[in-house]
Amino acid sequence: MINLIIDNKNITVPRGTDIFLAAKNNGIYIPGLCYHPKLSQYGGCRLCMVEVTERGRTRHKFSCAQPVSEGMQVKTKTPEIIKYTKSVMEYLLAHHPLDCPTCDKSGECGLQDITHDLKLSKGRFKTVRMNKPMRRDNPLLEFNANRCILCGRCVKLCKDVEGVGAIDFQNRGINTIIGTAFDKPLDCSFCGGCLSVCPTGSWQDRTFKFRARHWELKKTTSICPYCAVGCTIETNTKDNTVLKITSNDARGMNEGNLCIKGRFGHDFVHSDKRIKTPLIKKNGVLSPVSWDDAIGYVAKRFREIKNVYGGKAIGGIGSEKCTNEDNYVFQKFCRMVLETNNIDNLSNMKSPLLNTLIHKSIVHGFTSTTSLKKIEKADTLFFVGADVTEAHPVIGTLARKAIRLNKADLIIANLRNVRFDSIAKNDIRLIHKLGTQAPLINALIKTIIDEKLVDLKRVEKATDGLRELKSLLKTFTIKKASQITGVSEETIRKASALVAKPGNCYIVCGKDIEEDPSGPDTIKALMNLCALINTASSLKTDAGKISLVFSRLNNNSQGANDMGVVPDFFPGYLDIDDQSNRKRFEKSWDTKLSDTIRKGTAFNLIDLALKKKLKAMFVMGENPIVNFPNGKTVKEAFRQLEFIVVQDTFLTETAQLADVVFPTATFAEKEGTYTNMAMEVQRLNIAIPPVCNARQDWQILCDIAKKMGVTLFYESSKEILDEIENTVPIFSGIYYERLIRQSFNWVTAHKLKSRKYKFEILNPKSVTVKKKRDYPFLLLTGPSLHHLGSFSRNSNSLVSVASECFVEVNRKDAQQMNIHDGDEVLIESIQDSMKLKAKVTKKLPENMIFIPEDYEWVHVNVLRDNVYTKVKLSKA
């Protein structure tokens, strides 16, 4: 720690802190426009000059670029400094258009604030307007070069934080301008980071322009409703209308960084396409009815079905997008009122073993991340089957921070050469063949064992089954592994060394692993890898710790599983067949659970419906018709049903098949909690009252229960969370009020009992994919940066940037078939066919095509089989 004096105040700060930050953290104001705590120093605006006395010498220094030293005396407000700062401001303002009345930044503008602070009214210079042209080449962002003071914050953010680097300083001297290469239209990820760091009104949100003044906006802290990262957002509203989403650097794990969906994808809240009233199907047409009628009708039909076929003839699909409270009430409603255990959520239906595997990984301490923010402290990052840039962009920003500040090494194992821009010194790509994920991880394990990269004696002591693992891998040489996986021996060796090196390693396990047929094997192999490294690390010599992060798709995919919307578990992963668990819930719910509440058959809901074992289905906030593989079968299954109830915000494909549709509230109108993929429970808050007659999901469920003669009564989400706190062991200690300040992580809150790890003994074989002669290509589907679910589909901003789905084709394949960028191609599988625009890319291996699956209006799932789908391709 360093002691220094700033403006006669004694201050102690850590070594390496800049004077600027030291002053700011101790309540001393120094003007400055280019400094930003998130970004590297630049020293470009020249405003933060201070007088520094050190070892008897007094000099003027720029406080943002001067680290503190012991005994330093700093004065920030001498007459000379004020004179200097004023004249710098005069220069900055000489070319500034001073169009504050029509500038959206007015009121939160750094330049304006400093002008006000320094009481600058009339400058000495003749002001000249530059009249540079506006950059208005995209639907979301606008750049007004006249207002720009060239502080370089946006340039650094774009390059360092986002890894995009779309903009930079162009030209020289007075002609300097922030621009793109060759003045091309802005082609970036549209994260809007430039908006968030710009100290003036140069970057503008076009969707917000002229809609409100800064001081009219009400800011409500909430959680982003899109992906599983769970960024903290601020919903800006005026007159009960959501106008923009901003972020607060000091709140949440995202440090004020958002992606395009989070920042711009909010306009679905006020979309015309929202369902405005409850709907009941009459003569094949969904027609508006009152809430009472709809609820009465649903209660009546459910009672009938229950009486005739029994409760288990009703299926329930919970929601990965609704809150924990909604999902808790949903499973309670299904189990207690409908008396069925045929409930599930789409993520569990897609990868049924994942919950158990995650639980195992938690028990052995492999998933002990308190927050995703920890990733920024990583020494090694290992993305396995995860396309972070597209699926979880903010994990990308955290990873880049680790790479930039912590010199972290990066390993990416994927089928495709996914895009991840970084400046990592060691950036290793393990581009492996299809179905060889598990052998690849085993190859890493083998290398670590063979080359003794870890202390094997220690491992042997702390675990079971190392000998079996060794003997199993005996014949599995690196050479063989290299042949199977298609990754060179050298790369495997390099990657193993990086994974095993001391320091924190974060493994992000992506969707390509979780939803793959060989997924469980790969995850088990990953756990073996974790065990090998974690148990070998001695706390004395290194803090070697490896953590597995399982990526999830939606904002509350984790929560839906936590809340027991799965057939195997009560909330909190309590075994449903266990009597004590059963008693626990019977006591809490004050009821006797039906005997049908047991682990059922191994079939998922779609299969059950196909087998006509289900007569009715209750779908809460999901669209399985589009979001579940093998779309045709799903549709077929839904056609078999007698009665379908859907709660959703939009009339999705599933809602269109329903007999009754209830309109529900969106994230802006809701309160409750979401759980992100690192098991952080975070709270969202009501920003606006419900739009167009919508209700909270749990409210609708309670209303139906009441009509069916069971009292499920809650005043608010808080009461539901309190019940969860009381009943579910892993959630004990969660308090609604405390969540305002701090998220709750059930993994770290409860140290689960750890047993000795026993290595999983797996045959390191690859999955062979049978080829079909007529269908030479293999279809891969995956995430998209711009879209996720029915929200993004109804957001005009997102659709305006990404309006058309596409199919990625390997360059060589494209050349052979004479396909060019933008050509329409016909994709045929055994199930179905569709036409899409082609995008020629080097990312993909040959004989494979890739279609993003989140352009919801394009039903990619109808092409898909349950496993690898073979397709053929032709120019349309």
Partner: protein
């Protein structure tokens, strides 16, 4: 590079990347080598063309915007095709006093090209420079490596003809 080759390349839209690849190979893995790379590439291709810059960006793991930022900062780099002959008219103090603006005007009118641009036939690029250090010969202009001193608007035509 001889004139014929350059014209041939300009007519033919396909760019030969092999030279750029060769230069980039030599600097593989070297950090902070952007400026020498750009200099060599400019020497090989005459100017920095978009596809070549994109290649440099890809190979050096940089963003095109950053490279263009560097290229537009330094006067030595050119993003537009340059003429076979470069005319540098001195506009230093001595030349200015001796009527350099008129010389520039004459060159511009004679070649039908604004200052800082290249003629349509890609033969001449007209530039203003600060001082050529030959004030005793003011007003002075340099065409390629030849210095033409004591110019007058009347003999500009002659100088151009001579160079052609």
């Amino acid at each position: 590079m001889n004139t014929l080759n350059r014209q041939k390349r300009d007519q033919n839209e396909e760019i030969d990347f092999s030279k750029a690849e060769e230069i980039l190979d030599a600097y593989e893995g070297v950090h902070g080598a952007l400026i020498p790379v750009l200099q060599k590439i400019q020497a090989a291709y005459g100017y920095l063309q978009e596809p070549v810059i994109n290649l440099v960006a890809e190979r050096m793991n940089m963003n095109a915007s950053e490279i263009v930022g560097v290229a537009t900062f330094y006067a030595q780099f050119h993003l537009q095709p340059r003429g076979v002959h470069i005319i540098k008219v001195c506009c230093g103090t001595a030349c200015h006093v001796k009527g350099a603006p008129k010389i520039v005007e004459k060159f511009s009118a004679e070649l039908d090209v604004p200052v800082g641009s290249t003629t349509k036939d890609k033969l001449f690029t007209l530039e203003e420079v600060a001082c050529l250090g030959a004030c005793s010969l003011a007003p002075v202009a340099m065409i390629d490596e030849d210095v033409h001193g004591k110019l007058a608007p009347d003999n500009v035509t002659q100088v151009i003809q001579k160079t052609k």
